[in-house]
């Protein structure tokens, strides 16, 4: 038995760097993104082999699913921009800039290239050797976590670490997600998609079937998080997958969501997490010290709130900009000459 799974690991461990190399060496960007998604899914298999189900779920849902979808939509936007760019140049509007084509530039600095490659190889070999030297991990904080599992209020060790022992990390983690949504909203506004884009019959039925199932699976993952692999991040990611599917199929209900409600949904998770953290201090405890034996209940409450917020935030990140203004798109010249994405879209 061991040799077969051992061989399975060897194939997997060799496939990852090979795929990574092909990914960066591939000439066509679309193929690079596809390889990146395949790498994410293979990585998820690796996490399964390394006994990390939570990470496998998160990698599959966030790493391969959402990041892949983000890259695809960015790639499409880049192509549409360069397409409209070519049309403008064709029409002679943009002055021809004398940029040195990138290929030639790379040869311009061979010394730096060789030096950086050499440094990298030396560093990797040194690190590889030193990693080989050190004995296997002595269990780090594992025994300490196992010892305190009694008071943690949940069965799954990873959820206990994430939301109880190191809950402060997860709180800041939610702030990072919120900040990303803020950043994307502050940079651009979502293009006014043409109304005419009614999804085809097949896609409509697919969406009608998959989205409810995804929402149920998300709820299931959040619920199962306390005892097995799952939790707020994984549940939120699957919820976001449902949101992305709705955005993809250009379902009209998505555009009717009032901006105020959307902002509250984004803020809900971090705000409730912060308030519960402070509420724990009311009863004389420290920040995030769940009172008495009710840690399990508090954790479930926080997880469900954050899962909703993560889902909405990741879907908003996929949308890639502030929701279009409900009123007639007022003259929003928020950028300089090459103005906002909406200009590009109208070309």
């Amino acid at each position: 038995m061991m040799d077969v799974m051992g061989f399975f690991d060897i194939v997997l461990a060799l496939a990852l760097p090979w795929l990574g190399w092909r990914l960066l060496a591939s000439s066509d960007l679309f193929r690079a993104v596809v390889l990146f998604i395949s790498l994410g899914l293979l990585m998820s298999l690796t996490w399964v082999r390394l006994q990390a189900p939570d990470v496998a779920l998160a990698e599959a849902a966030i790493g391969a699913g959402l990041t892949g979808a983000l890259f695809l939509s960015a790639l499409r936007r880049l192509e549409r921009l360069s397409e409209s760019e070519r049309r403008l140049e064709h029409a002679g509007k943009r002055e021809e800039d004398e940029t040195i084509p990138p290929e030639k530039r790379r040869r311009a600095k061979p010394v730096a290239y060789v030096l950086s490659l050499f440094l990298l190889v030396v560093f990797v070999l040194l690190l590889g050797w030193s990693l080989g030297q050190t004995p296997g991990a002595k269990g780090g904080l594992g025994p300490a976590v196992a010892g305190q599992m009694g008071q943690s209020g949940v069965q799954s060790q990873v959820t206990a670490v994430l939301l109880n022992f190191r809950g402060y990390d997860t709180l800041l983690e939610m702030m990072v997600l919120f900040l990303a949504a803020l950043g994307v909203w502050s940079l651009t506004r979502v293009r006014q998609t043409q109304q005419g884009e009614v999804p085809g019959p097949v896609l409509a039925t697919l969406v009608r079937l998959l989205v409810p199932l995804m929402i149920i699976v998300a709820g299931y993952l959040v619920w199962i998080g306390s005892s097995r692999a799952g939790g707020a991040f994984q549940g939120g990611a699957v919820l976001a997958a449902a949101g992305v599917l709705l955005l993809l199929a250009n379902v009209t209900v998505v555009r009717q969501v009032p901006a105020g409600l959307l902002r509250w949904a984004l803020v809900l998770g971090p705000l409730l997490f912060l308030l519960t953290a402070v509420a724990c201090m009311g009863g004389g405890g420290n920040l995030l010290e769940y009172p008495g034996q009710s840690a399990g209940v508090w954790i479930l409450f926080i997880e469900s709130a954050t899962a909703v917020s993560i889902g909405v935030t990741l879907a908003a990140l996929y949308a890639g900009g502030r929701p279009p203004a409900p009123s007639a798109p007022e003259k929003d010249n928020e950028e300089g000459p090459g103005s906002g994405v909406d200009k590009g879209g109208k070309a």
């Binding site: 997997l12 193929r31 596809v34 395949s38 298999l45 697919l206 199932l213 199962i224 097995r228």
Partner: protein, 87 residues
């Protein structure tokens, strides 16, 4: 007995990797899109076999999420890159 499952899982993994070669060589973008489908089916099968081989029920949840996400990736491929407005 349970070695059979891992052997099957190994064959599927090799099949997936062989399938990835099509992406590298695939002339059109559509060929690269097949990867999502490939993972949808082979990845789920590998996980189900492993869950039986390693007797680990959690893998079925992961297989479920795999199937959902492979569907999302495939739809994202088809729509975001080629679908939509053909100018």
């Amino acid at each position: 007995m349970s070695g059979l499952y891992s052997l099957a899982a190994l064959c599927l993994l090799l099949a997936v990797l062989a399938g990835l070669v099509r992406i590298l060589r695939g002339p059109t973008e559509a060929d690269s899109m097949l990867a999502a489908q490939l993972f949808g089916t082979c990845g789920v099968a590998i996980l189900l076999l492993l869950s039986k081989g390693l007797d680990w029920v959690v893998l079925q949840d992961i297989a479920l999420v795999f199937a959902l996400l492979a569907a999302l990736a495939a739809v994202a491929f088809a729509l975001r890159t080629w679908g939509g407005t053909e100018r």
